[in-house]
Symmetry: D2
Subunit: 365 residues, 4 copies
């Protein structure tokens, strides 16, 4: 359903990069959830440009919540959160009206919207829009944490450099506190150096984000067609730049034998667990009580300063394009906040489908 | 929405492996589409057990269409297709009631449905259910082909053995005719040998299916949240055993620079095309007129004959499990038909959202 | 979403009057509900032609449930219920291919489906399809009754003849047991006479069904856009022949003053109740704990034996039409079963949205 | 789906009467529609308090469109329209926290949202919210008019006083221009007098709005479950105060014979039309090319100045309530704008489902 996602809890996004305001409507949220403004700001800060590896547009992300919150708590009616756009420099983009940037949505938007799209800064396709998503998602993220359900993502791979895995709640909390989401600090330094190098060359890099959800009860998800993998991937593939999603062992399933990859059931006290977690916490589309583990690949930021070939849609001639404006050599560290927020929304929705509006009071004790 | 998927065209699946009948309801299909029974049978034949690498249950897949088709054409009202279950041997499964098979849905179904699930043969989670999907999907698959939109999948990777890529319509048509969907015949022999070896050891293998859609016009899909990647992945992750989906360059985006991975725009005659297709035909969630390319990883069949560890849910003791019954050492070649059918349904739905009920008359000339 | 209705619990209908089978898929039903075949048969019997006021096609309504039920209980996966068509006499309808019957769907179906519709006996528009709805709805109807939520409908008005109102559970149970759903037996005799008279003249009559739901807890429904009135009316207006729906005082609100029509709050023990129930148990779209009361008007059966004027769509000439075949002079008494079943499904869905999959265990003690 | 309505074109509403802002998101709108600010203002002016029969809160309704419009035209991405709340006097409502007003949503909101609702001025249940609906709906209303599809509503009944019917486009245009929507000017005077009288007594009145849609092509709507009646009634019953909806002859179907009520088909030139329009332009849930005619009953404004009985939810004692604040003795003339806007949205959505995103270019020549 286009710009709305979810069954019981729904998120609607609107806004353009250089429009007046961007925003989100989060509907179906239980009443009585504490809305912690500092928590929201903290999540937004993780999405903002970072140090010398993000040299771009500095957004203040001053948000306001104009509905659905009363006396600091959610009312149960739709929450609309707005973020005004400022610090926009639209003239940077004037040349792009007819010169679609390779691997951006400029060309497809032009076809789909028949030339009426707001082309400035990528319009509705801009990563800018994700700020509103991070902000409203934080409301649910915090509520889930209060119930022992934690979401975290780290950069598990970037140009061949690998981070170690998230191992338990301590790692998760620790990586959630870091501005650059990598567990191993030495690896973090290497990755940042790689990003800086790319930036110096006017180039860009991508990477893989690994997301872990701890504390999700077993029994969430559906066989057809709302498997937990379906819901999560549907959400993730909406985020600009994500081109692959895998759960548990993911693509390495292609090389192993069943006898190696199957997750044997074991007892931990009186709890049924699996010895390994190659299925990423999901069997038959339904959570099995183990950590949910998935990885999303983020492509290199398509905005680079190097010369590229494109087609002038006005003259219908091939033309060389040099992108101006402010662009990051990598967005993967910023995408972390978006992935976490959208994962929290998706998980909360799946819980609400099963447990109803009052799901927070019905889970985890 | 649980067992229904799609916006304008919807598919609903029902049935259990050892129940009376399985079936599907396909709704929103344009009126006046020819229903070619032989075409449907042909697709079903690709899903059936194959040669010595599929030693399992032989299903006749005799289907009947009980609604929505009149005088050989679709009426525009819901199409219900039924396949009776026969040749079921439920006693094979009696022990499984309390002994969940590792990496199967037995355990999660038991939690979710509170012990009321039909546990025989995996019940609603069985790959058996996909037969109805293949059959109704074939109706749209054929209709799309008439309009120049073709879907095909081949095994691109299996235990390190790689097939070459689908290169154009000839390869696509050729692989669609093969019982074992591999382009390079030598590679096919190696892969089959690998599967046979696994089977002889009572083990199983998985692999990667690469799917190509040719002829899809540019402009299909949405930025948020119904990107073409979101819709396709939502569909694919419903298929039992699929644990990863990537588009275009997919996870290898993590290693390249933007300058290497961006798809430059070029002119082919008066057509805007891209020089490379690392984005798999999709920019900003919207088709760009290039071939849609995605890969889905299928995990090794979890049913193996080797001893495995599980937990007896009755006694709550760990126990060794030996699976009986008839099981394939690989299902990836059979999954091909399911992936194609579900891709066709998803693509047709996205076209119907854009072009309306009468979409077939509005595309490709 | 076309032929599927509902949020958490969904119903999909398929089939044509003279097709092979009609049926329904009910999805999202909790696992562990007893499926009482006799209860279902009983509901179906109320939909069947009745005595001398229904001289039409006698259907056996032999149904089979082919999925979603195991050992007599729902499994939690989709329930598909099938009813084979028999006793069809398609030749009665041959003339209707180009001669649309006034006030039937023949003409609009022809436009919508471009001539490909199954025109025999009204095809997918036939009241016949409602048999499957009644049968699957009965599963939920019974489950709700076990939790103290009762649905009943009676004919409150027919050609100026009025029945008295349902006053409490005794009336409700009593009218649910009657073959002709009227509380006052004298009124029932008069109404039946009116129907017989119309039948003897080759004519038909309509009437008003009043539906009462007892035991629904307060707090069910949404302000925008899924008010309880919205959901119920959406459902009711799908039933062929229903042309008006009103809640509580309904259209008589147009004549009273606020001071007369407002429902004052009072205490009954420690329960908040309203003194009157002009709002039919719903304030602001949400149930208030009082009985839900609504009325649906059923138009006179459009199939009459008198000569009527139509347009021959083949010759595009006006033409006199004489309808043949078997038709009831009234369907309102049979529609009762359909209204009850669909109300039960709608109420169950609204409960499941609020309380989750396991709603039956969370309501009414 | 809660606060979102529609299939292809969706509307989401947010905001509370005394919150910061109210607003709407309209999604799925075709790109390239002219956004005429004066037209929107004109529709809003019809919703505003009127003369001496509306003595209430004067709202400026200064709206801003913050997304989805670029250079005066829709972009095809979600349109967010905001209206700031001003002139609120929340202290008027303080007593209402525990004293639910009869026939308002105060009590049900308190149950549903567990005391966390914004109770000031009815919060999310306030008629105030409809201002945003009127404003965004106007965008589609104007676009439909350009294609010859017109929507208008008039007060057909108010305390026994009847207006004549809308007879053709001239009447429709004329009533759309009037501040008090009644065709017969003498009737208008009588109705206004009736409203003033009620107001002087501290009381209120309701009435019936009759809505006509001209120019809708045949073939729009679905048999199950998205009949045109289902979609329209679903929308109408979301509007606060509407308690009944009937199509064509509506509840008077209960008194006529089939032979009197059936709409005979006739030819007008080469157009198939019906002689009468008792079915209100809809057969089998699908438009037949005749004017769509429906009536909605609006209950008397529940806010009256007379003493009423309620229950103090804090002390759980019965208590007399005297409502303060500013309230209209009738809202039906203002509701007209809401009904028209929501009808336009619903009709546009149904057209988009059939004809696709580009529906405006595919209808009516």
């Amino acid at each position: 359903m286009k710009n709305t996602f979810g069954n019981s809890i729904t998120i609607t996004l609107f806004g353009e990069s250089h429009g007046e305001q961007i925003g989100a409507v989060l509907d179906g949220v239980p009443s009585g959830i504490l809305v912690d403004i500092d928590y929201i700001k903290n999540q937004l800060s993780k999405r903002r440009p970072f140090g010398c590896i993000s040299t771009g547009r500095v957004e203040k992300d001053e948000f306001s919540i104009v509905s659905g919150v009363f006396n600091g708590y959610t009312t149960g009616t739709p929450i609309c959160l707005l973020i005004p756009n400022s610090n926009t420099s639209s003239k940077d983009y004037d040349q792009l009206k007819y010169l679609p940037r390779p691997s951006h949505a400029d060309y497809t938007a032009n076809i789909k919207y028949n030339g009426f799209q707001d082309y400035r800064g990528g319009g509705h396709f801009s990563g800018r829009i994700t700020a509103a998503l991070v902000a409203v998602g934080a409301i649910l993220q915090r509520a889930l944490e209060e119930k022992g359900i934690y979401v975290a993502s780290h950069i598990s791979l970037l140009r061949g450099i690998k981070d170690k895995s998230i191992d338990g709640l301590d790692d998760l909390v620790s990586v959630n506190c870091k501005a650059f989401p990598v567990i191993d600090d030495d690896v973090a330094v290497q990755m940042q150096k790689e990003i800086e190098n790319a930036g110096e060359q006017g180039d860009s890099v991508g990477g893989v984000l690994e997301t872990v959800v701890l504390g999700l009860p077993a029994g969430i998800g559906e066989p057809w067609f709302d498997s937990l993998e379906s819901l999560i991937s549907h959400a993730m593939f909406s985020i600009p730049g994500i081109k692959g999603v895998e759960f548990g062992a993911g693509f390495s399933f292609a090389n192993g034998y069943g006898s190696q990859m199957n997750d044997a059931f074991v007892l931990e006290g009186d709890q049924v667990r699996t010895k390994t977690n190659n299925n990423g916490g999901i069997n038959g589309g339904i959570s099995n009580g183990m950590p949910i583990v998935f990885r999303s690949v983020v492509k290199p930021t398509p905005s680079i300063y190097k010369e590229q070939q494109t087609v002038n849609l006005n003259t219908m001639q091939e033309q060389v394009l040099e992108i101006k404006g402010r662009h990051d050599p990598a967005i993967i560290h910023r995408a972390r906040a978006v992935v976490n927020a959208l994962t929290a929304i998706t998980i909360a929705d799946a819980l609400a489908v099963k447990f109803g509006t009052d799901f927070l009071n019905k889970i985890n004790g």
